[in-house]
Symmetry: D2
Subunit: 336 residues, 4 copies
Amino acid sequence: MLRVGVIGTGMIGQEHVRRLTTVLNGVTVTAVADVDAAVAAEVGGRAGATVHPAGEDLVADPAVDAVLVCCWGPAHEQYVLAAIAAGKPVFCEKPLAPTQEACLRIVEAEVAHGSRLVQVGYMRRFDFAHRQLKLVLDRGEIGTPLMMHCAHRNAGVPSFYQKEMAITDTAVHEIDMVRWMFGAEIAGVRVLVPRRNSHGGDLQDPLLLILEMTNGVLVDVETSVNIRYGYDIRGEIVGESGTASLGSLSPVAVRRDGRVEHPVPADWRARFLAAYDVELQEWVLAIAGGGAPPGPSAWDGYAAAVVSDAGVAALRTGERVAVSLAERPKLYAPGR
Amino acid sequence: MLRVGVIGTGMIGQEHVRRLTTVLNGVTVTAVADVDAAVAAEVGGRAGATVHPAGEDLVADPAVDAVLVCCWGPAHEQYVLAAIAAGKPVFCEKPLAPTQEACLRIVEAEVAHGSRLVQVGYMRRFDFAHRQLKLVLDRGEIGTPLMMHCAHRNAGVPSFYQKEMAITDTAVHEIDMVRWMFGAEIAGVRVLVPRRNSHGGDLQDPLLLILEMTNGVLVDVETSVNIRYGYDIRGEIVGESGTASLGSLSPVAVRRDGRVEHPVPADWRARFLAAYDVELQEWVLAIAGGGAPPGPSAWDGYAAAVVSDAGVAALRTGERVAVSLAERPKLYAPGR
Amino acid sequence: MLRVGVIGTGMIGQEHVRRLTTVLNGVTVTAVADVDAAVAAEVGGRAGATVHPAGEDLVADPAVDAVLVCCWGPAHEQYVLAAIAAGKPVFCEKPLAPTQEACLRIVEAEVAHGSRLVQVGYMRRFDFAHRQLKLVLDRGEIGTPLMMHCAHRNAGVPSFYQKEMAITDTAVHEIDMVRWMFGAEIAGVRVLVPRRNSHGGDLQDPLLLILEMTNGVLVDVETSVNIRYGYDIRGEIVGESGTASLGSLSPVAVRRDGRVEHPVPADWRARFLAAYDVELQEWVLAIAGGGAPPGPSAWDGYAAAVVSDAGVAALRTGERVAVSLAERPKLYAPGR
Amino acid sequence: MLRVGVIGTGMIGQEHVRRLTTVLNGVTVTAVADVDAAVAAEVGGRAGATVHPAGEDLVADPAVDAVLVCCWGPAHEQYVLAAIAAGKPVFCEKPLAPTQEACLRIVEAEVAHGSRLVQVGYMRRFDFAHRQLKLVLDRGEIGTPLMMHCAHRNAGVPSFYQKEMAITDTAVHEIDMVRWMFGAEIAGVRVLVPRRNSHGGDLQDPLLLILEMTNGVLVDVETSVNIRYGYDIRGEIVGESGTASLGSLSPVAVRRDGRVEHPVPADWRARFLAAYDVELQEWVLAIAGGGAPPGPSAWDGYAAAVVSDAGVAALRTGERVAVSLAERPKLYAPGR
């Protein structure tokens, strides 16, 4: 039974505590911490977990085998570094840290530690449809990949959503996904700006990101965050002799009122709930068995941050922005 | 230029005159006749055709190479027989005649004539999707056929629609289609009665017909004639190693309001307009070239009538009714 | 943490032990028993569970809160009755018992006990697509249901598969499903016999079952158990104003070699693995919370047995066979 | 009966002569001309048409009401100008002329003539699916359009195919289509270059064109001309509250070998044969009735040429290229 401590008991933290205590197997929540002591006490009480005054205390707790970092982004770095210092596996919600410099410090700390401890919460890699898509590609069913067309659509976004978030919060999932899908880095980014959706007020929405990968694969990503009709994640890989797409996952087809209807998920929960479950279950299994974290690494978190920064610059300048990554440490070599 | 005379200038007759004069190639309408002389005069005038007082006159007109019979069912026999007597090709809208006895008299007259002159207007055989389905079957892609599931759905029917018409007017299209699809006769019929659709008032709707074919293929046909959502023709053949279905023919997919929508045709026109065009164009081409009529024969019209009668008996008795056909004349042997 | 004892550690028992110990939450396996002591010892050892010499000992073990019966069918009755006698919740794999008489004895024992303890392992009710289908129906989106078309297809079956098993093992899932879907009993059964699939040797395959429900809904079920192309479960409910179908659940679409391809599951595992997980997880949650079993009851197991018997009789005689159920005890009233 | 003269009796000319004489209604071919007198004699002989030594003679023939220009591109201008000079309607296969300057001369000649005589052969506007897509858009079902994603895929191309032809021959169909679909001009073009498909040898294939429209709609067009799996035309319009896509037009679905298969057309004939028929039939109807040509105008042909040139420049330079059109004469005002 893996004993996990959860730092950050806000919305996403509570969701993960629920998942760990009522859905997943082989794991228990033994400790929680939050800057809001009252919320921490309530969540911890429900879970039968110790409530620590600070994240560092939680990391140091001998009843904590591994740490989940779910607090707000600016505090990720300190707790992830604390976990590395303690030699404890740590699952950190995305983004790994708000700046590429902070991400790089985490990478360096993990390299200094000498083995992988960090996993970042990009859950697409655990989604069944994305995994099947990668299988089709890796089996060579469509030949060498040349392009990928993606769309990331939200019915709506909250009022605090800024145009840069279309890259840093929305398209960042595609940024991580294509690096994993094609086993290559992103070399350059452009952002093209279509006519504005009036449902988003002054927000510059939608956008079309163009990602050039180091192996030549060209990726376009539509982000539409006020499209109303639902939450829709689309992807089609164009290979040399065919294409492979994310399927329609509609469990029912209804014929009425002059048409055949297939429901579209209302939001990311409906679409990716199972992926979140699989993501943490596989992490629990691997960590409990003494293995390395099975998902996106600190390097992946760093690379996503660098590409996001390039995307924001491309949006601001209207120009192509080259992506410049640090040299990748051997710890993160493919197949390791 | 094939010169055609049209007997019956009601709704379907006018539709065919429009088709022959403004859509099809290689054909002209030279004569019309109808019991309603005023309508005949108007339709004939528009088409630049001679208006005959009686169908027999039209058949005898030397400017008429071939005849279309579009009048009401009880009058089909006399005009088809007249055309056979005159040795002129005749296309007769379905049904060939209202009773199997009348149909058999036509068969016998054609056999006495010694070559095929008659085609009956079952247009499914000219529908692109049905033809592709037959191609898949005939190429052996799913192995020997064992079963077929069909549905024939109308949004609604007129108030004069009687329960027997679900067999004689609606399912009769499937009756002809499966005889053609599987190259076999129907040996027995059952009709099962589900819960009644309240949109149809007292009408016994829907029904489930069971057709047993002489080669063992078992066909089930749902007829739903008040289902409101649209006109929907479905079919799936179950073979030894796979199945083949009529595809969805939706030209567009619309994502809105929480779903993906594919439009369904509102009525048979939207679904089968092209099939009617192809049906008559191929008939014109064959007849103008001196060939035999390329579609359903008088024998097919007779067999459909016999199976319809058996279906009506099965509906009334609740029992399986065997189908008993006359011996098939050599004129109608397959491959002839 | 619910403590479960598992009677029967053959294939399905081992699968459930794996599920309970490595997938589900809030449950532990504390005891096992099997007629094969060596297998029981191995499975129990791996799970850290006590190995009992007999199922009755397992039921009596105070460290067992609830019982899973996974042994062969003829032994189901004795262990289910033992669990009822001990007042312990019991999940019994399908069928509840091999004869309707045995099933009825279990019903009577549970009624005598006075509250529900028994759940039978019909997992369709926990399948996401079937649940969504029921939601569409229950929300009235297609109006009152009138018919349902089902197909249950297997790529192949083992050599010991007998023609009656198409009803007792295969279609029995649809028998339970439609009773749940429409909230009604089955009143009569017919079995129609199409042309035989040569891949099945002498086996009478496929079949078309006709189920008449007490509320008038007419259900047809194709069973094809040698169809090679894959495992395919299809269902379309015909309502007064529309229809609702099980959707295509293909996670990917591949374009290659002249076509768009959507993969079909190879077998029931690929199709229903998640449904088995949900089935037992919801049972664990309900039982651990002191609630009634949330799935098919002993009455459902009994009704399935009676309908299966009628189906076998219908297959043998070629006639419609009426279904005659005992009076339903109040314990099993809907909404209770 | 409209009397048409066909200049150019090569492949496409013969195809149109076949269409005019054996498919369409209300039209006859009275004259042909070709630089290859032998071919002209053969084609003309079959059609019962006068064979003219030169296109100019054909245009002057009083038995020619309207002209089809199907010869090679460099000769289009002279015959279109000749028809305008003669005041005869002229249907010119695409491209209108090989240079934008030549196209502009045709525009100016037609403006000087004072009424529309010219139609250019962009047949997408007559394709049923594209028309339904435009209907959905024009009815406001998805709100104001913001983006469009297109793919134009060929299984393969002949060896003389050059990289610029991906724009001038392939994407030019999308260039015309989006101008019509969105009722706006194209303001700028970019061409992005993905990894090269090795099936195309040294050919730079695929490409991603980016078209910026004057109303802000951003269009991306994938051209893949060696993708082997088939001929596939895809399009999805992204609106403010939904999207609309070209549907799948598969007439059948086949289940076999572990998958559901929908056939994809092998080439443009299979996909667009009906669109060519509709294109010419509507032209015949309009011209025979004394109306203006109902399809793409000389202005549309000119605009396509200018955008193509910009696309070729964008491909060569790697930069965005602005599109600079002459002022649009009132003759081509929308709604005129």
